[in-house]
């Protein structure tokens, strides 16, 4: 029972990251664009790294909005201003979590002008 309780209470998703080209971190005042599957990456971007969000078996804080917010925090820490979802699995019979593969990019243009996902508060 104790093991189950400890397992459930450590309820974050499993995050795997690989930063191939980390850049100086961005401030909170610098915009980060969240691009969903249907949004296109602009030209002339530099790839900063990859993120992968998986279900940690007992994760509960793993809605799409929550994961995208976590991805944005990681992006800022590593100097990326574009979060691009390249693979998205919705909650299903096997998992109650969204599972995402994400690429992070640095774009020198104005990211706020890009068509993008608008984050919501769950």
């Amino acid at each position: 029972m104790l093991i189950i309780v400890i397992g459930i209470t450590s309820c974050g998703p499993k995050i795997t990251s690989n930063f191939t080209n980390p850049l100086p971190k961005l401030s909170i005042d610098e915009n980060v664009a969240l691009l969903d599957i249907e949004h296109n990456i602009p030209e002339n971007v530099v790839k900063v790294g990859d993120l992968r969000f998986q279900d940690s078996m007992l994760a509960t804080d793993c809605s799409f909005n929550s994961l995208m917010n976590k991805a944005r925090i990681e992006a800022r820490k590593n100097g990326a201003n574009i979060v691009k979802v390249i693979e998205k699995k919705k909650p299903d019979l096997w998992s109650t979590c969204y599972r995402l593969k994400i690429e992070l990019y640095k774009y020198d243009g104005d990211v706020s002008s890009l068509p993008q996902y608008t984050l919501k508060i769950d």
Partner: protein, 154 residues
Amino acid sequence: MKTIIKATVLSSVILLSSCATIISGSRQTIEITSEPSTAQVFINEVQVGQTPLQKTLKRNQEYQLTLKLDGYKTYETKLKKKFNAWYIGNILLGGFVGLIIDPITGAMYQLKPEQIDGNLKSGTTYKTEDGNVFIKITMEIDPTMEKVGQLEKL
């Protein structure tokens, strides 16, 4: 009849033993005020209004809270998940179901402003009442801003 009573008692024990979920719910009301008021409030970078503001948030998530007001430094903190003491009720009442349910619903947590080394971010005070959190933020003047004038009502 005895069977019905037994079944009722048993199901009550099982159902009512998710203490924190029953008492606190899966969401928590956060009230944010600032000095001066009318600061723009952002939660996870989503603009949600101006102070004073009341918002109901899920207990099983952590949030970034940002306040912006012209002439003042941008204020940033996190709302962190802290242990909700009602969860202990599951152990006291022997409600094993509650030990599982409360973490899933998030009711075993209570959102509170982040503390670093036991200290709140400068300018922050808070109190909890009936499970709700009231946060007061005193905005710090931005020394790089220079007052050039003032508009007055005619």
